[in-house]
């Protein structure tokens, strides 16, 4: 009872402390989700697919269909092969470049440490409000840069037209080489965004300009975030994903075998077991890589990585200040978590939806509101919506 009270009090404390950033994040995610879901629901064929899947008789069939769809999606990213491959590793590596940095910022906003390689890149003396402000600025700048680079051709066109016209007016004839223009525009955008983040984010305690300032401490940061953490983490992400894919493919292929429930329990259990194993392996691999790096940094006289600070934060507050460590570990579990979500969704659906799903599905004409209701009832299936 005491434990439960302590748990409920801690829930209240977290809600009291973080209600406003959570409201902002929840609102933004809600808008993004709504803008993604409405066109899908308005599209008759897409809705028909969801409906067909949801009213499919038999939990095992529904479960396998979700898995088969998930496998088709992953094949686009990781390649068709179920063994280890450079393509699969590369896909994991690209993702592994982004999340350590954002986990680091996120953990810092929740009160985690911000120094690395002897550099206080994230100011630990700032208040939680200012830290969240800094995090929002960095995220906004990243989204802005991503959108900018997606449309860099249009920007180059604009500038090219403007420059050509200006030259013409000045009585000169000529044009700028396109690649040089594009490179100049990209460089100006990056410098401008870094300067803005350095200025505005600095209020929030994010010393982003220091990352580009040079020096041995900065080199340590670059090595850690660009080489050691991503390459080590991606190894086990890749192995974990491929083992889950192999198990799930085997499960789908045994569609007509006897003892279905036993086969499903066996595969889910094996997936959970391997996820645990990879978690332990990652808890060995990451410190090993960082400590070997520290050896090398020590030999050449550079600052060392203070990973103990982050480990201690994870011990005290794994889902708060320790998010960098927890997040690095949790990412290895993601394929298994998605698998369990599919299993849970497929098994729980009849209990959640009951007769209402059948009633809605039987309607010959459905309004958008009907479709939203239907989607709300089947909830989890939207993640796996797709082409058969």
């Amino acid at each position: 009872m005491e434990a439960l009270s302590a748990f409920l009090i801690s829930v209240g404390e977290v809600f009291g402390e973080f209600w406003w950033p959570l409201t902002i994040i929840g609102g933004v995610l809600g808008m993004v989700a709504a803008s993604a879901v409405i066109p899908i629901l308005n599209h008759d064929d897409s809705f028909a697919q969801i409906r067909d899947w949801a009213i499919k008789p038999g939990r095992a069939d529904r479960y396998r269909d979700l898995i088969a769809y998930g496998l088709r999606v992953t094949a686009k990213f990781y390649g068709p092969g179920l063994g280890l491959s450079w393509r699969g590793y590369g896909a994991c590596l690209i993702v592994a470049y982004a999340y350590p940095v954002f986990l680091w910022l996120f953990a810092w906003a929740l009160g985690g440490p911000g120094a690395l390689g002897g550099l206080p890149l994230l100011d630990e003396t700032k208040s939680p409000h200012l830290r969240w402000f800094g995090l929002v600025i960095v995220c906004a700048a990243t989204i802005f840069l991503a959108l900018f680079f997606k449309r860099i051709d249009q920007f180059t066109d604009l500038v090219e037209r403007f420059l050509t016209r200006s030259l013409h007016r000045a009585g000169l004839i000529g044009h700028f080489p396109r690649f040089a223009l594009r490179a100049a525009i990209a460089a100006i955008a990056v410098v401008a965004v870094v300067a803005v983040v350095g200025g505005v984010g600095g209020v929030g305690g994010v010393a982003v300009v220091a990352v580009f300032a040079g020096g041995a401490g900065v080199a340590v940061v670059w090595f850690v975030f660009l080489i050691f953490l991503p390459t080590a983490n991606a190894v086990l992400d890749h192995v974990s994903i491929q083992v889950s894919r192999w198990l799930l493919t085997d499960l789908v292929n045994r569609r007509n075998a006897a003892w279905q429930w036993l086969i499903i329990i066996g595969h889910v259990s094996a997936d959970v077991f391997f996820a645990g194993l990879f978690l332990v392996l990652l808890a060995i691999l990451l410190p090993a890589v960082l400590q070997l790096a520290n050896h090398a940094f020590g030999l050449i006289g550079w600052a060392v990585v203070e990973w103990g600070l982050y480990l201690e934060a994870a011990r005290h507050k794994p889902f708060g200040a320790g998010w960098l460590v927890t997040g690095m570990l949790v990412t290895t579990l993601l394929p298994t978590v998605v698998h369990l979500l599919a299993a849970g969704g497929a098994l729980a659906l009849p209990a959640i939806g009951g007769g209402r799903i059948e009633t809605l599905a039987a309607k010959s004409k459905t309004t958008l509101l009907d479709r939203f209701g239907f989607l709300g009832l089947i909830g989890i299936s939207v993640f796996f919506l797709g082409r058969r």
């Binding site: 409201t23 929840g26 060995i284 400590q291 940094f297 103990g308 994870a314 708060g320």
Partner: protein, 42 residues
């Protein structure tokens, strides 16, 4: 939704705490086995 998320979040922290501690112990042991500068607690 947010209340559910926070309850899950806190629940996860409560129940995974011992596991994270075990993994942290394992990480420290690994680091000590390799040795060198920057080890936690040195």
């Amino acid at each position: 939704m947010m209340v559910i998320a926070i309850v899950f979040w806190q629940g996860a922290e409560h129940f995974t705490g011992p596991l994270v501690n075990k993994l942290a112990d394992l990480a420290v042991s690994t680091g000590r086995a390799i040795g060198g500068p920057g080890m936690p607690g040195t």
